[in-house]
């Protein structure tokens, strides 16, 4: 099936069923926003579990939060904020037809995302070692609360699902880089960067909430 109209060179990206680029761009963006809604509600379920258990056992959450490393959490927050900035600058680079900057910014975003995952890896590793595992595998003895294992289940579900989103993001941005290197994106067409950027910002936003909710309980 032909997807490119081939009418004019700069219109090569326009799928056959759209009237013009503007319609294609707006439709894609609306579609992405609607998808982000599903993401929010997907995480929302976990936040509900978090809120219910925290309202039942506030003392458990206070104690358990102490075992999380606030510094690492804060560092990762910073890392994601910068990555949000770099990806938005990648969008801008496409808008002003600066291919080199596009590549630099996309590359930095990937580097920051990997940094985030490395930090997460060290965090997880130290938790695993101490036996702070999800409920069924939990062995840690430092917390005096019978539901301590459930806290770690919620912690791992939230951060784990978030981590999976970061990894998916790395994949998507790498794909953007391949295309950007070929010069696919320019001021008349940058929908994919814009869309992936929206996704990436959402990943950032989720972490913006996870950080105080998990690391900053007192």
């Amino acid at each position: 099936m032909a997807n490119n109209s081939g009418a004019a060179e700069k219109e090569a990206h326009l799928a056959h069923h759209f009237v013009d680029s503007e319609q294609q761009f707006e439709a894609s963006k609306l579609g992405m926003w609607v998808f982000l809604v599903t993401e929010i509600l997907f995480f929302g379920g976990l936040f509900v579990a978090y809120i219910v258990y925290r309202s039942w056992h506030p003392d458990l959450f206070e104690q358990a939060a102490m075992t999380l490393d606030t510094t690492l959490g804060a560092v990762n927050t910073g890392v994601l904020i910068v990555s949000s900035l770099t990806i938005v600058l990648a969008v801008r680079a496409a808008q002003i037809n600066d291919q080199r900057q596009q590549l630099i910014m996309l590359g930095s975003t990937i580097a920051l995302a990997i940094t985030f995952m490395v930090v997460k890896y060290f965090e997880y590793a130290s938790k695993f070692e101490a036996g702070m595992l999800p409920a069924g595998l939990y062995t840690y003895e430092g917390i005096e609360h019978e539901l301590a294992p459930v806290f770690y289940s919620i912690y791992y579900m939230l951060t784990g699902l978030h981590g999976i989103h970061v990894i998916i993001g790395i994949g998507l941005i790498s794909w953007l880089m391949v295309n950007a290197a070929k010069g696919t994106y320019h001021s008349g067409y940058f929908t994919p960067i814009e869309i992936v950027a929206l996704y990436w910002h959402l990943v950032d936003i989720i972490w913006i909430f996870l950080f105080p909710l998990l690391y900053l309980i007192e």
Binding site: S21, E22, F25, E26, K29, L30, W33, V34, L36, V37, I40, L41, G44, G45, F47, V48, I51, V52, S55, W56, T70, A74, T77, G78, I81, V82, S84, L85, V88, L89, V91, R92, Q95, I96, G188, A197, L198, H201, D204, I205, I208, F209, F211, P212, L213, L216, I217, E218
Partner: protein
Amino acid sequence: MSLHHVLPLKTMIGTAVALFVLTILTVAVYYIDFPDPLNTIVALGIATVKAALVCMFFMGLYWDTKFNTLVLLSSLLFFLIMIGIILLDTLFRDAPFQIYG
């Protein structure tokens, strides 16, 4: 943000700086002892402001059609419905409902 709107560089950098400041603030506040629920409220308040900044400027809702904002807000509304009604159960499990005394 339409196809032809170029993102203003200063605004982007400004947003990032604001996000950093708020992150530092939220950590700082963590070490200050507020009376109980206030802590959580402040922490969540700051997080909400940060999220709003990301949505408005990084995600471009500030320049975009208002409908996309509506789409985003609808997700919050339905999340609030879910948690709000579930709390009606979980917080009142042991409370018998009495109308006739």
